[in-house]
Symmetry: C2
DNA sequence: CCTTCCGTTAGGCTC
DNA sequence: GAGCCTAGCGGAAGG
């Protein structure tokens, strides 16, 4: 079996702890919550993050992020785990522990993610014709005109300014509003209204209406297409380097 | 020890599985990712959700939501867990298993959350003076004017329309833009510009500028204050019922 | 630090 | 099912 000292020892050693048991959970901080008695999985990680998982659902029912401070105690025969963080307090009272284990895990691997919006941006900068022929991104891309950051800012064949908003999935009304706030901000700044292009794999029907009404243009652009462009470019770079 | 059949059996029994071991993870679906070899915690829940947790961080590095389909197999001496879902595939290849356990957890408790935006809305409907004296929410509150849903729609003392946007934490520029899109949509619909009020515990400096420029009004309203109003109202209801 | 915005966001609610 | 919004969102990136 194990004692409260085993748990304290594991916490101090900065191991990952797994506790399965019957518990109640109270949270108070940015909001507040109460969870009555039931059987759950509690995970405590070496960075001070803590998760309470119910038997179903993707999300933890309660948690505290990394760098929370732990306190382990015993009260009325219950194991009490308290996780504290500026302004937030999570208390888990375990009346019965079905399982306890601790591990010192080694995990240095890189996590690589593909098909993100950042990759779409790279692809458009590498091949601006993905937006339209003659589109030229403006070199200095750190454009923060009062209200937010523009994904890509450039000029079209006729020299007119173009704001491009990228989305890796279907564009919705919120996305169009975001783009329009950039347009208006930039219009005030430059005196003329720039073109606005939303580039996404698809667009919601509702958003289509706003797009039509506000003169925004839609370009179909998928993350997959962008990955292909980047792969081709990478291949070309390698080829040029070899020569 | 345990065999692959133990794991299959636990999955079939719809238990919660906990596996700690050395693994690689591939994901392909809405995006794609690759995670090289390292030691992690894998959780499989009875509803088909699956989580891969690294030794640090609040979030799982890879996952699949509830109702994913599981396949357990053995390849090249590795335990291969595949989780599939419409258009998404998660593959975990375990080269070494340090720990395996399964549990049939019982958890029927209610989870109660307080201080949500929904509660703020209830409080304002119960006591509209939280917005201002004479404010009257319009009964028919299902207001979806082309672009999104308005939190609370009403009239002020002078009979002018008022749009109220509630936020449980500091209001930012995005929130103001959202409110303004409602204002403009409604202005087109009604012919006159309604008042716009953002009710939140605080407002960011950036948002303050837009508020001033666009004629939006800010009302300080905290979730805590709303909870007190609701508690008082509940108390009153109970008192009236007792008589 | 503040601000902004992405995310395999998830999850819920409404039409 | 489609669309929209909240979340104790978390996390990263930029100023």
């Amino acid at each position: 079996m194990f004692s409260i000292d085993d748990i304290r020892e594991a916490v101090k050693r900065k191991s990952m702890l797994i506790i399965v048991g019957r518990c109640r959970v109270e949270y108070e901080g940015r909001a507040a919550s109460h969870l009555g008695e039931g059987e759950r999985l509690v995970i405590i990680k070496e960075d001070g993050s803590i998760l309470v998982h119910r038997p179903v659902g993707y999300e933890p029912v309660n948690w505290n992020p990394p760098n929370s401070k732990l306190d382990i105690s015993e009260e009325d025969g219950e194991l009490v785990i308290t996780s504290m963080r500026s302004g937030e307090r999570l208390e888990i009272r375990l009346s019965e522990i079905k399982h306890f284990a601790s591990f010192d895990l080694v995990d240095d691997a890189e996590f690589e993610m593909y098909a993100s919006e950042a990759e779409m941006k790279k692809a458009v900068l590498a091949d601006p014709s993905l937006i339209e022929d003659g589109f030229k991104p403006v070199e200095d891309e750190r454009q923060a005109f009062g209200s937010g950051r523009i994904d890509i800012f450039g000029v079209d064949l006729s020299g007119r300014f173009v704001i491009v908003e990228l989305k890796r999935k279907e564009a919705n009304t919120q996305d169009i509003n975001q783009l329009l706030s950039y347009v208006e901000s930039l219009e005030r700044e430059l005196g003329s209204r720039p073109r606005a292009i939303i580039a996404a794999p698809s667009i919601s029907r509702q958003a289509t209406k706003i797009v039509a009404q506000a003169g925004v243009e839609f370009r179909c652009l998928t993350p997959r297409r962008c990955m292909e462009v980047l792969r081709r470019k990478k291949g070309l770079d390698a080829f040029l380097k070899e020569r």
